[in-house]
């Protein structure tokens, strides 16, 4: 598309893209905006809001990605967002997507959107798959009935995207190309809608939204746009009228208003599908059926799942973790090299140390997570986009249901055993906020690879070579048990509210595209950089200050603030067998768990192993390891929880939960051990 006009002349418009889940909405969004995307938050709720930009011959378009919704009649947070958005801040234009292979399931929403009165274009996606199945779609018939332009596309390959842009442009320039369609309703409903529409006409200053649409929304779900200019009394009267009309029609028809409205829509949808398609293909195609016979097999399904998870785990951490280590080493080298440079030598040692060991170290930690996050999301997108994620969720649903979660959460928790940070970022794929919050709170109790290093180091010093591996195994067992125990606890106290009903679509298998997968990985790295980096650097600097201040004391010694805190907290930690030196190590551990080992070397000085052996008994050591396992993993994890939950409360609860449970468990282990005579 050529840009004849300059930026100054371009007209700014907002286009919202809306569809039901699994129709390739993100793919089309990515195709239209490229990587020009921003991620924010829907006001008041913690659901991701994606927006992007593209130019369209004379228009500067802001594209808003509305969450996947089956209907404008809300039954979930996502649908509430869509409904509120359309009613209160209607966009200039809507792009709706239909799944060519199964138009019926998409058309319910399409009809609602078309009735809203907001100009719209419909994209029929996945045309290639429909063609392959020998299905013909009468685009013209669809266009006639929906009252708007309909464009066949293949979002994955980009086929039809130019035609789609053209259709948008034409409709923008000639609004008469769009007219809201009529759907047939029982006479009682029709009359009720007409009565309400008349009342709305009097007060509605909004020329965009169709009065009939507002009337139907009112009747169906009782929602009304926020008319701030209108007298409250008039509004109250309308609400009263709605109640009355609804009761009357429900009585007359003998069923819920929402059922009647949905029936009207889907009856039209069914008729439209019959008219516009040559043949309905059975969506679970042959390939999907054959694969499901193996992957969801009663006996082979679970073993196959664990093999796939093993490969996934290996794939992510065999590539990601070494890269993380390499970047970490590079920064360590850079730090020691910088200490020797003239510039930093000329500075006050406190300033240069703060900059190098605090700020730069923090930046190094942020950057070292990049490869891990990239690899993690490449693999996650692969299993999600291919359709396997839904199968895995199906297989493990029984197990996770006992925690009030669904099967998808299992994968996140499992991946936490590699590294908590991407695992928490990955909770975004979970279906409800309830599931996201609970999973986010459970992941920090998984034994990640950084803690594993601490445990290998300490158990090798404190226990005989034949015992040490068992100690580490026992810690894994404790971690598994704690994840489930805490999960039960959170469910028991209904911590994140009621679980949402479980209705999960099982999409057909599909080959993921490089484009979607790579944009996803790139976006995740970007959002980690934006949202977590300041937090991480600030945390690292804070810990550095604690372990280096006041001026002139030996870093990490008893005279530092951290040492003072350690001594101050002595009464709290002595019942669990942890001395002030280990408390300092634990404070260092907030930065990253790997540092615990290094900091012990600093604190205990030369010949660390002998020193540790002399001052820590195996029981004290085990108690220390239990505490390390269960308390807050690291500053990057906290940052990830903060940026994913978008809530300080949840972040605080996660911190407190970790510390309290760590203390209680260490207390049980230590005091129990003493009683048993260890």
């Amino acid at each position: 598309m050529s840009n004849r006009l300059t930026d100054m002349d371009d007209k700014s418009i907002t286009i919202a893209i809306s569809s039901i889940p699994n129709t390739g909405k993100s793919t089309l969004f990515n195709k239209l905006t490229g990587a020009h995307q921003a991620v924010g938050n829907w006001a008041g709720v913690s659901v991701e809001k994606k927006s992007g930009h593209f130019r369209l011959d004379g228009y500067d378009v802001t594209l808003i990605d509305l969450p996947g919704a089956y209907s404008v009649t809300p039954t979930s947070i996502e649908e509430t967002i869509v409904s509120n958005y359309l009613l209160n801040t209607p966009p200039d234009f809507i792009i709706n997507i239909i799944d060519a292979r199964n138009m019926y399931r998409s058309l319910g929403l399409t009809l609602q959107l078309a009735q809203s009165g907001i100009p719209m274009v419909v994209a029929v996606n996945m045309m290639d798959e429909a063609r392959r199945a020998g299905m013909k779609i009468d685009i013209k018939a669809l266009s006639n009935h929906l009252g708007c332009k309909v464009v066949p596309i293949v979002a994955r390959t980009g086929e039809g995207i130019d035609e789609l842009k053209n259709a948008i442009l034409k409709t923008l320039k000639d609004p008469s190309l769009f007219r809201p369609p009529n759907i047939s309703r029982p006479p009682v409903v029709e009359n009720a809608i007409i009565t309400l529409a008349k009342k709305i006409e009097k007060i509605n200053p909004d020329p965009v939204l169709n009065k009939t649409f507002i009337a139907e929304r009112l009747l169906d779900s009782g929602e009304l746009p926020k008319y701030t200019q209108v007298d409250k009394k008039i509004l109250e009267e309308i609400v009263k009228d709605v109640k009355h009309l609804r009761a009357k029609t429900e009585m007359n028809l003998g069923e819920d208003m929402s059922v009647t409205c949905a029936k009207c829509r889907f009856n039209s949808a069914r008729g439209l599908v019959n008219e516009a398609t040559s043949e309905t293909i059975r969506v679970p195609d042959k390939f999907t059926n054959a694969l499901d016979k193996v992957l969801l097999n009663k006996y082979a399904g679970l073993p196959m799942f664990f093999i796939i998870m093993f490969l996934l785990f290996q794939g992510i951490y065999a590539i990601g973790t070494p890269l993380q280590a390499i970047i970490g080493d590079f920064f360590t080298l850079m730090q020691s090299a910088l200490h020797e440079t003239v510039i930093f030598k000329s500075l006050h040692p406190f300033i240069s140390n703060l900059l190098i060991d605090g700020v730069l170290n923090g930046a190094g930690i942020v950057i070292s997570f990049f490869p891990l996050i990239a690899v993690f999301f490449i693999f996650m997108s692969l299993i999600e986009d291919s359709g396997y994620m839904a199968r895995a969720a199906f297989l493990l649903d029984r197990l996770m249901h006992s925690l009030g979660l669904d099967g998808k959460a299992f994968i996140n928790i499992l991946l936490g055993y590699g590294c908590n940070v991407p695992a928490i970022m990955g909770t975004r794929i979970l279906s409800s906020r309830h599931n996201r919050i609970i999973t986010m709170l459970l992941i920090p109790f998984t034994l990640c690879s950084a803690r594993f290093q601490v445990f290998v180091f300490l158990s090798a010093i404190l226990f005989a070579p034949s015992v040490a591996p068992w100690v580490v195994t026992a810690l894994y067992a404790v971690s598994f048990i704690m994840v489930f125990a805490i999960g039960f606890l959170l469910k028991l106290f209904k911590f994140a509210g009621k679980p949402e009903p479980f209705i999960m679509e099982i999409p057909p298998f599909r080959v993921p595209t490089l484009n979607t997968v790579s944009i996803r990985a790139w976006m995740e790295m970007k959002s980690f950089l934006y949202r977590a980096s300041t937090f991480i650097v600030a945390g690292v600097v804070l810990v550095w200050l604690l372990t280096n201040l006041p001026f002139g004391v030996e870093p990490g010694s008893i005279n530092t603030w951290a040492g003072k805190i350690g001594q101050f907290l002595q009464p709290v930690f002595s019942p669990i067998g942890i001395g002030w030196r280990e408390v300092i190590a634990l404070i260092f551990g907030f930065v990253a768990k790997e540092i615990v080992v290094g900091s012990m070397a600093v604190i205990y000085g030369a010949d660390t192993a002998t020193q540790i052996l002399a001052s820590i008994t195996p029981l004290k050591g085990f108690s220390f390891m239990i505490f390390t396992l269960l308390y807050t993993p690291c500053i990057a994890t906290i940052a990830a929880i903060k940026s994913e939950s978008r809530s300080w409360r949840i972040t605080g609860i996660s911190l407190a939960l970790g510390l309290i449970i760590a203390w209680v468990m260490a207390f049980i282990v230590y005091q129990g051990g003493l009683l048993l005579g260890f």
Binding site: N102, Y104, R105, A262, V283, P284, D292, L296, P501, F502
Partner: protein, 146 residues
Amino acid sequence: MMIAENMECIIKSVNDSSGFGERLIQMGVLPGSKMRIVRIGFRGSTVEVVVDEGQSIALRSKELDVLDCRLVSIPLSALTPEQGKKYRIKKFSGGQGFLQKMNDRNVRISTIFEIVDDHPFELKTENGVIAVGRGEAEKIIVEPVD
């Protein structure tokens, strides 16, 4: 609600207060929709159903209780003996050999029967009692006779 793999039923009404039925309705799964249970997950708690419009969804069998369904067809193997309950054979989902075998034993489409025993299956028809193996019973799809 009774559940069995390859069972089909038509939704009569949705009695819901949990939000589950409300969501199904907004997805286009309405009274009048036909539902087929494709597979039952580990220990029966999760099921995959295909709705007549072709979408495949996973649900929890417990939540299916809010649906009032009319049984349309079910494999014989999922049934148990019940005095006076009559079924009609609707179709066979086996190959040529199986069809021939059934024909030879006088088990034909539209045969009406009552289950006398299910270890193995003994079906009482108007022409006498027919014995059917468990494996065979999985391939005989029947419907209830009111």
